[in-house]
Symmetry: C2
Subunit: 466 residues, 2 copies
């Protein structure tokens, strides 16, 4: 077997990078649970027809085939006939599987149902910086049975802002949550006389990539807008701000273009309420940005994107919105609102930009030295005593010279080496000693009581500059 090489788009971290990722995941989980979100996991696969309900995403789906299924009639038939209800694909996000989970288990869930979900997802896209074929998402959603109060559209982006804010102390940059409201956009476009609302949103979504001139041309070519309508759409998209003055500017723009729309008024009232509440609960974090469109078309109210300040070109690291019809079984609908953190995108930037580091690459705080293979049992006993009080410990791999055993610890960044006492000729045992290999200080110690300083107990994740 030749040395294997990485697969483009399928990131993996070395052990110290995984400590950073695990810290991020643990922090997100802690904040989600503090807000009452319960964890669930869904299977990695969904029936292909469910994954293809949104046509835009079909190109991204990985389809599964059992290697031996040719030998078995039914599934091979299904594959040949393209029977999407029998074929399975890997999920490309956690929202579609969550909507299915809610429908499947509605009788066993209490609504409004708040859940978080941290899992891998897969998309067969061309890999780029921050864009992977396999990546981890961390989602929160709340869904109601039949109805869902608007205040959750205020609450959820603030939970995400708090979760990402809890990572500030390890060196994660500040975040801005950019919000818009589909009703504002749709009300404004329809009021202008444009009916192809989804198409306009799709083109506006390209603003950061291709710039306003190209989008203006696309609005005319693809969405059937007049040049004047296209200009008005771009003027709306140019509005942003962190106070309710934004609402007044949209109203003024609408008046200028003769736009009258109840939908616009509803959307502006919601957007204004969100900005106002956010400015109290998390000043400066939430910014109204009327160009935020979100490509997927299941959103019906608030939409969100989140950028790392100073890393805006990385794109959104946390996106989502309000959806009203994603989960419906005919008899009941389950409207929801949720956001999804692109954990892999965030972590890969933290590591590649050298923003964050782990203080060591292994859990162990102590290596217990082994004097001879015959007395390995004594070293094991020391390790057991330390572990029983929560100290991560490993025992040296071989009874090599102590210098080599110290180098074993040093190479791993393990701060302490423990030397079991020797049994003297008269049968007494000399005291155990523990050495801080950073300072060289070596002192007598008792495995029943000694503990490392709290900051050395586990690897910590800190700003790379620390």
């Amino acid at each position: 077997m030749a040395r294997p090489t990485p697969l483009s788009g399928f990131p993996e971290w070395l052990p110290d990078g995984r400590i950073v990722e695990q810290h991020v995941l643990d922090t997100l989980r802690r904040v989600f649970e503090l807000h009452g979100f319960g964890g669930i996991e869904t299977r990695a696969v969904e029936p292909l027809d469910q994954l293809l309900r949104k046509g835009e995403t079909s190109k991204e789906v990985y389809v599964l085939r059992r290697l031996q299924e040719e030998a078995e009639g039914n599934e091979a038939d299904a594959a040949r006939q393209g029977r999407a209800d029998k074929q399975l694909g890997l999920h490309f996000d956690l929202t579609v599987p969550f909507a299915r989970y809610v429908l499947e288990n509605a009788g066993h869930l209490a609504f409004p149902f708040k859940r978080y979900q941290i899992q891998k997802v897969w998309r067969g896209e061309r890999p780029q910086d921050g864009r992977f074929r396999e990546f981890t998402q961390a989602d929160i959603d709340v869904v109601g049975a039949g109805e869902l109060p608007y205040h959750y559209e205020v609450e959820l982006p603030l939970v995400m802002a708090e979760a990402l804010g809890a990572l500030r102390d390890i060196g994660v940059p500040e975040v801005r949550v950019l919000v818009n409201n589909r009703r504002v956009a749709e009300g404004f476009y329809r009021g202008l006389g444009i009916d192809a609302v989804d198409e306009v949103l799709r083109q506006i979504d390209k603003l950061d990539k291709v710039g306003p001139e190209k989008v203006a041309a696309l609005l005319v070519a693809e969405a059937g807008a007049t040049p004047e309508q296209a200009e008005a759409c771009l003027a709306l998209a140019a509005i942003s701000g962190s106070d309710t003055g934004v609402v007044d500017r949209v109203r003024a723009l609408a008046a200028e273009h003769g736009v009258v729309s109840d939908l616009l008024d509803t959307g502006l009232a919601e957007l204004g309420a969100l900005i106002e509440a956010a400015s109290v609960r998390a000043p400066g974090v939430v910014v109204a940005d009327l160009k935020i469109a979100r490509g997927l078309d299941y959103y019906t109210g608030s939409v969100y994107e989140t950028v790392l300040v100073g890393h805006e070109q990385l794109g959104s690291i946390c996106s989502g919105g309000r959806y009203d019809t994603l989960a419906s079984d005919g008899a009941n609908t389950y409207p929801g609102v949720g956001l999804s953190i692109g954990v892999s995108r965030l972590v890969s930037r933290l590591l590649s930009a050298g923003l964050v580091r782990a203080t060591r690459a292994v859990p162990s705080a102590v290596v217990v030295a082994v004097t001879s293979e015959e007395t390995r049992g004594a070293s094991d006993a020391v390790a057991t005593a330390l572990r029983s009080r929560g100290v991560p410990v490993e025992v040296a791999p071989a009874a090599a010279k102590f210098g080599k055993q110290i180098r074993y610890a040093d190479r791993r960044g393990i701060p302490f080496v423990w030397f079991p006492g020797r049994v003297e000729e008269d049968g007494t045992r000399s005291p155990d000693q523990v050495k801080d290999i950073r300072s060289g200080e070596q002192v007598d110690a008792d495995a029943a009581t000694w503990a490392p300083p709290a900051e050395d107990l586990r690897p910590r994740v800190v700003p790379a500059t620390d």
Copy 2:
């Protein structure tokens, strides 16, 4: 969309079941880290040719295809020509990906390298009780560069026994780790004059399923054994015990059949050392069982299986062994030893047999009531104060009658409801109150200082009989 139904072989848990699973995973991780194992994750996919290196497993592999790849020359060609080096499949265990990770990153790892890995794996097998198409494994392995001391073959099953033992207090039954040594089996078979060692192991592995008579016939038919040789193989497989008397019984059986083998002697010395060390460190947990074969043929020394006492028919919940040639890039080999817990098999039994339960299905310890939508901000402020001290809290979804808000908490098993004080006509605010809805007791409380009893802070996982 009609109400969806579960996919056979792809288990999912309701929120309270997920709390049980998460507790199991957290406990395993804690014990693994106490022993110095660092966490890694590998991508879900491997090149198909790597997955197919062991012919036996090929039937289990899920192959991936991008839905649109027909449109692109290269990959479609690869698929048509069956070019397994370009095709990707989902991993069916965590050992093969780990071996690849070690080779790929050898220059960045410190050896012996100890890692744990907790991830989903996929096998296209027919689903049965405890046998899934998607399931979670929790693995520990240690690999050396070039060499790996034998004592790790003693240490690793004891780490697993400790990890599973740490689940005893939630109601997980006692475990028995059954151990054997490939060298014992191979030395004995070869000494008998049988060369088709892998074939014998494969048939012996069926003992529990089909019984000794059928296996005897298979040994004759498939492994070319004489009836006498087959009988001797079965006599070896019948030996078991938790002390080193086992070694003497194997020696006696070998002598009886005129078997002389250095390999057998080496294997017996290792097996004896393992049994002896284990009887000191974890009395009664490790049992030598000479019928343990393990189907996969990469094991070269110790092999392990683990049963839940009282649930033996569930099969092994933690298996593994020593392997010498799994990871090799020609220049270097990386021998290893590891075990893998079948977490989904374990958790599904805990839930379906009603052995374990979560004290509630949500993280929240407190629901803060909302007096009116106008004063929701005051309820949010209470929640923020409680969360800042680590108390999981949610705010009521609507300013309904208090009775309805209490029922919201009750339906979720949330023990406390918090009532913010009212602002009186003279501008003073009456004290907040908190109600234990189990006892009905309601007392004045201050969000800056109050905390629930420790046992109510988070959902706990307990024996179902508690």
